[in-house]
Amino acid sequence: MELVCPAGSLPALKTAVDNGANAIYFGFRDSTNARQFAGLNFNDKRAAEGIEYAHARGARVFTAINTYPQPEGWSQWKSAVDRAASLGVDAIILADMGLLDYAANKYPEIPRHLSVQGSATSYEALSFYKDNFDIRRAVLPRVLSLDQVRGVAKRSPVELEVFAFGSLCIMAEGRCYLSSYLTDESPNTRGACSPAKAVRWQETAQGLESRLNGVLIDRYGQGEAAGYPTLCKGRFEVEGDVYHAIEEPVSLNTLDLLPALRDLGIRAVKIEGRQRSPAYIAEVARTWRHALDNLEASNQAFAVEPQWQTTLAGLSEGGLTTLGAYHRKWK
């Protein structure tokens, strides 16, 4: 299985390569990718340097152009595809049908991967993308249980990549408009969820409050660890109960599932986190490299080393990890 790691900067890209990533994905420095953060991502010069570095060491590089262009952005998004093509990337990760069509016609020789933002959760949906845009690979949304992944994998017309570790989206990706409902930006339109520009922290008599465009997302008592106010991970009130009504601040970690994923023929595991530091990428990539190498060497006897879990838990939101939807009971 291939280890696919994120890079939000050239140092992060190099770190990922040095620590065992088989492939690295990056985005351009604008809204054409789903991790639009100030100061993050690549211009063409940096991207060219990164691609050269990776290729010299046998790693592949993918470009994520996985937001949805509106008419006024169409030429910018199209030119992002052109830029990726001229940089010589190994694949372009796309979600929008119009853009997939453009890439398939103009650059048929460059492999197209369907982004998780393309919301393909069945082999029929995958067949739609395969028939229309000849995609080579698809990244599955983080909403399927292991049994459901098995059902998709059995009849998938394309290679599959699944999320292994990092932030957990609990809504079907590519179809979540919660962020643009509270702010004016969403992953689809601007490549941003709960954007930093809308975040305010306030120390009040009742505790530390986090707000998103004025909306109270959470309030922390003394000694409680405060997290970034991603809107679906706040504490809200439903019929008088105040709780994490949608999801707790927690990260996805699927180390335990590696043998099962391998047996299903999953081609690649993906690490989330282009917004993370090179130090974070280094630790995560190294840990997963060890795990994948052990998996390959040990065949049936693969066992997760406690140290790997400790390392990954330390890098997780709230220090907690979950198998998420892969584990039926989570639902």
């Binding site: 949805y68 262009p69 509106q70 008419p71 006024e72 169409w74 979600a95 929008d96 049908m97 119009g98 853009l99 069509d101 453009y102 919301s119 959760t121 069945s122 029929e124 949906a125 739609f128 993308y129 028939d131 229309n132 909403v143 399927l144 249980s145 059902g151 609990i170 809504m171 079907a172 590519g174 179809r175 979540c176 408009y177 919660l178 643009s180 409902y181 509270l182 702010t183 004016d184 969403s186 689809n188 339109t189 465009n213 909306v215 109270l216 997302i217 309030r219 706040g234 809200f236 009130e237 439903v238 019929e239 109960d241 105040v242 009504a245 949608i246 939807a325 009971k329 989570w330 639902k331």
Partner: protein, 297 residues
């Protein structure tokens, strides 16, 4: 004149409630009715045969009927239900997922893309128009500016793809594999006791300052405020919008339809707000603002 449509019922109502609702709807001045379960695979008060019977009845009453499909497709059972809906040539289907697109295209059935289908540009519509697209819904997070550009682009390319706009009701904003209603009751999703039946308008999710944020409804999350574009109808008419979608609610829907019908006929909208399930109004998306905002009232 613009057409009025009733979107699929996004809530979970008993079989009798659904039948009663559509018995009344048959008399309302709506042109198109979307029928079927678009949210949760566990909601099976009506069997496929019941939906087909209802569809034929409403068609006999002069309604244009479209069969809706599930938005989040997760299992082989979901695909079986989808194929059953697409295994006919009497009705168009509302494709709410690429799975439905694939099956509809293979069966050569005309399809309408629902509001959860990501249609953000003309190139996407061109792909779909080649393969049986009958009409398309504007994604809920887009507003008049994007819509205007899309309609202009379609005219320039001479593509016949009528546009429908979600104009009244709680906005469907997200779908998850997790059920938030079951979570609220500490029940496993697979044994949810069908508690959604107790909440025919969903459950209000509020901030700890009592601000209405969302409505949880099984695996889906809707807006906490009610989207209302009634006052924008004249502008939509000028822009060339084909159909206005109203999203069913249990109470007062006849009054909602009546008012939208009056406005599309050129009558001045009444200024008193509709008091149904208590919820603040919003229209932000139409103006390119946060969806929850209320502009200009």
């Amino acid at each position: 004149m613009m057409k009025l449509s009733l979107g699929p019922i996004l809530w979970f109502w008993s079989k009798q409630t659904v039948f009663d609702f559509y018995a009344r709807a048959a008399e309302w001045p709506v042109d198109t009715i979307y029928l079927g379960e678009a949210v949760c695979s566990r909601r099976r008060e009506l069997k496929p045969g019941d939906w087909f019977d209802l569809a034929r009845d409403l068609k006999a009453c002069g309604k244009d009927v479209v069969l809706s499909t599930q938005t989040l497709i997760e299992s082989e059972a979901d695909l079986r239900r989808l194929r059953r809906i697409c295994d006919q040539h009497e009705f168009a289907v509302e494709a709410n997922d690429q799975s439905a697109l694939q099956v509809a295209i293979q069966n050569a059935i005309p399809f309408i893309t629902g509001p959860s289908m990501n249609v953000y540009n003309v190139a996407t519509l061109k792909v779909l128009a080649r393969q049986g697209l009958k009409a398309w819904n504007l994604p809920v997070e887009l507003g008049k500016e994007a819509l205007g550009q899309l309609l202009e682009g379609l005219r320039e390319e001479s593509i016949d793809a009528p546009a429908e706009v979600f104009a009244w009701g709680f906005l469907p904003l997200a779908w998850s594999s997790r059920c938030f209603t079951a979570r609220h009751y500490n029940l496993p999703k697979d044994n949810c006791e069908f508690r959604c039946l107790e909440h025919p308008d969903g459950m209000a999710l509020r901030s700890r300052e009592s601000q209405e944020l969302f409505r949880i409804n099984g695996i889906s999350t809707l807006s906490g405020s009610r989207y209302d574009l009634m006052r924008e109808l004249p502008e939509m008419q000028r822009m060339g919008v084909s159909t206005i979608r109203l999203s069913p609610e249990l109470q007062g829907m006849d009054e909602v339809v009546k008012r939208f019908d009056q406005v599309r006929c050129g009558e001045v909208p009444s200024t008193d707000p509709l008091q149904l399930v208590e919820a603040p109004p919003c229209n932000g998306y139409w103006y390119g603002k946060p969806g929850m905002d209320l502009v200009g009232l």
